[in-house]
């Protein structure tokens, strides 16, 4: 199909998400679907279930269904490149969401600045506890760009100003967050704060901390509904809130713009926001 199509109502959008087993991505999907509906577009969703290879197959299947634009939330930035390149070769524009693609021609990346988010978390701990505070870090799925970037941002500040006493992966998973935190507490009873790469792990970690009766700051990432409720209840300390629905909406708009031949920016940043007990009521809808 030609690029000069202007009638948005005929557009078929293909969305490939890394996984739907995480509320964050469900929200992205929701944003995409709502915006597309508003514009009268059709959306086909495929879910890679965190498997980079499956994602490539999924995208091939989307192309087979003659989607006009691909919205891709990569499981991995490197691995997705070949799929982007095949879409490119067929002239299908690609928009990536939340995570970047290393190679290939991507019209635009709609995402939060994860590295910045990591820095925000470290900064917050620093403000609350001062220099040299003992912190633990719960990492996300090893190798995921979110893990790498959030970790990087966090370390940018924490390596110099804080003392990281423990660093373990809990795979973005709530249960693992709980178990891992219990163990960390045993090995390092004097931990003062925890930064978890997402809210799921943060909530799990909080359960462990509560059972131990300790008073420890817990900072998450995402701004999930559960996390927001928890902050409001005074349980979780803070989260670096993303706006997943907005990411989805902006991605659809960007896709439409590209198809209509409009210019789009290389990256469309979606604001991150530090949510704490003080400002949580503004966030809640």
């Amino acid at each position: 199909k030609s690029n000069k199509e202007t009638d948005l109502e005929d557009i078929k959008v293909g969305l490939s998400v890394s996984t739907l087993n995480n509320p964050f991505f469900v929200s992205i999907q929701k944003g995409v679907q709502e915006e597309a509906k508003a514009q009268g577009m059709e959306v086909i969703v495929v879910d890679a279930q965190n498997d980079a290879a499956k994602q490539i197959n999924d995208i091939e299947d989307l192309i087979q269904q003659q989607v006009d634009v691909l919205l891709i939330n990569p499981t991995d930035s490197t691995a997705i490149s070949t799929a982007v390149q095949s879409a490119n070769s067929l002239g299908i524009p690609v928009v990536t969401l939340d995570r970047s693609a290393e190679k290939g021609d991507v019209a635009t990346l709609v995402s939060s600045d994860n590295e910045k988010g990591g820095e925000m978390a470290a900064q917050y701990v620093l403000e609350q506890l001062g220099e040299g505070a003992k912190v633990a870090e719960l990492e996300g799925v090893p190798g995921a760009s979110a893990t790498r970037e959030r970790g990087k941002g966090f370390h940018n500040i924490a390596d110099e100003k804080l003392e990281i006493v423990a660093k373990q992966t809990a795979n973005f998973d709530r249960t693992e967050g709980l178990n891992t935190m219990e163990n960390i507490l045993q090995g390092n009873p004097d931990v003062e704060a925890v930064f978890a790469h997402n809210d799921e792990m943060a909530i799990g970690a909080y359960q462990a901390i509560r059972s131990s009766g300790k008073d420890i700051l817990v900072i998450g990432f995402d701004g999930n509904e559960d996390a927001i409720n928890s902050i409001q209840a005074g349980d979780l300390t803070a989260t670096i809130a993303q706006q997943p629905e907005k990411i989805g909406k902006l991605a659809v708009r960007a896709g439409g713009d590209v198809l209509q031949g409009k210019k789009v920016k290389r990256t469309i940043p979606v604001q991150l926001k530090l949510v704490t007990n003080e400002n949580v009521s503004d966030t809640k809808k």
Binding site: L20, A166, T175, G187, S211
Partner: protein, 317 residues
């Protein structure tokens, strides 16, 4: 003849003692490197962490004793946890919800049992299929989101997070279940039939044992115990996670095997499974305490399984 007899008794003792010695050596090692391991608080933590795997592994012990396997336990845990949470959110009394949830877990196990007996499917395949199906159903039911807002029922919170005379409730559940299941396995005709089916299924049939019925009951029991584990997890996380329990079948099987039960059925002890679960728990907890990176922990865990089984084989020979 007398010789055969003696070595037999020693063999039996070994079967029980081998895993126990392994556990003690492991605990000692960890304690020497990091004495905080042996602190009562940590040990209680350990017990609480182990409870979920132990409960699933108990059921797995029965299944493996019949010569079967159950890959679906993790998915049953997740689906029944989601259903319990769903009931709680819709206002049903949490304890009632847990009860119903456990029964539903038993029902899912029963489906496994029926596929295996009536459908004559290999247990591996039948439970591989239901593992996929139950997980899919969990995701469909929860729409991929955790279910939270389970209310503030004290009893429900106690179930996963509470203490009783200073001992975590999940640990108590684990020990109570052990006692009940030990009696069932070693002191009732049902238990004896479980062994008989795994030891020689054809002979069991000829003896008039209703093999299909016993098998269905065994898989139902495994489902029920997985759901019970799911209830504990739901309380601990104060929510139901759609991805809960993924790969738990592997931990449970590992616990059973580390406990000295034979994968080909007919031979094994449930006390071994409890010890096996404690070994795995100690490894997880201990390696964390020792600050071993999570990547390297996997290498160590794999190696421990190999070494434990190899030592066991050596003794048997």
């Amino acid at each position: 003849m007398n010789n055969v007899l003696k070595s037999n008794h020693i063999g039996n003792a070994m079967q029980k003692l081998g895993p126990l010695v392994g556990l003690l050596v492991l605990m000692l090692t960890v304690t020497i490197i990091n004495p905080s391991f042996i602190e009562p608080l940590n040990l209680l933590n350990l017990l609480r962490q182990v409870a979920i795997n132990a409960l699933i592994a108990y059921g797995m012990t029965f299944v493996i004793l019949t010569g079967g396997i159950d890959l679906s336990v993790g998915s049953i845990l997740a689906l029944s946890s989601a259903l319990m949470a769903g009931m709680m959110v819709s206002g049903i009394d949490p304890i009632l919800a847990i009860l119903i949830g456990c029964l539903l877990g038993g029902l899912m196990g029963m489906i496994n049992g029926v596929l295996i007996t009536k459908g004559k499917m290999a247990p591996f395949i039948a439970t591989l299929a239901t593992m996929t199906m139950f997980r899919g159903l969990t995701l469909v039911y929860t729409d991929g989101n955790p279910i939270s807002g389970l209310g503030d029922s004290y009893a429900f919170q106690l179930f996963g997070r509470g203490y009783f005379f200073g001992i975590p409730v999940p640990a108590i559940t684990m020990f109570l279940a052990f006692v009940v299941l030990w009696v069932i396995l070693h002191k009732t005709p049902f238990g004896r039939k479980t062994y008989a089916i795994g030891g020689n299924e054809k002979a069991a049939l000829i003896s008039g044992i209703k093999v299909p019925r016993i098998k269905v009951m065994v898989y139902s029991l495994a489902g029920l115990l997985s759901a019970l584990a799911g209830a504990i997890l739901t309380s601990r996380l104060n929510s139901a996670q759609p991805t809960a329990g993924t790969t738990y079948e592997l931990d449970a099987i590992a616990a059973v095997v580390l406990g000295g039960t034979s994968l080909s059925g007919g031979r094994g002890l449930i006390i071994g499974t409890l010890i096996g679960a404690l070994i795995i728990g100690t490894l997880n907890n201990g390696l964390n305490l020792l600050g071993v990176s999570s990547f390297f922990q996997m290498v160590v865990k794999g190696a421990v399984i190999i070494i434990a089984v190899l030592i066991d084989r050596k003794k048997a020979a």
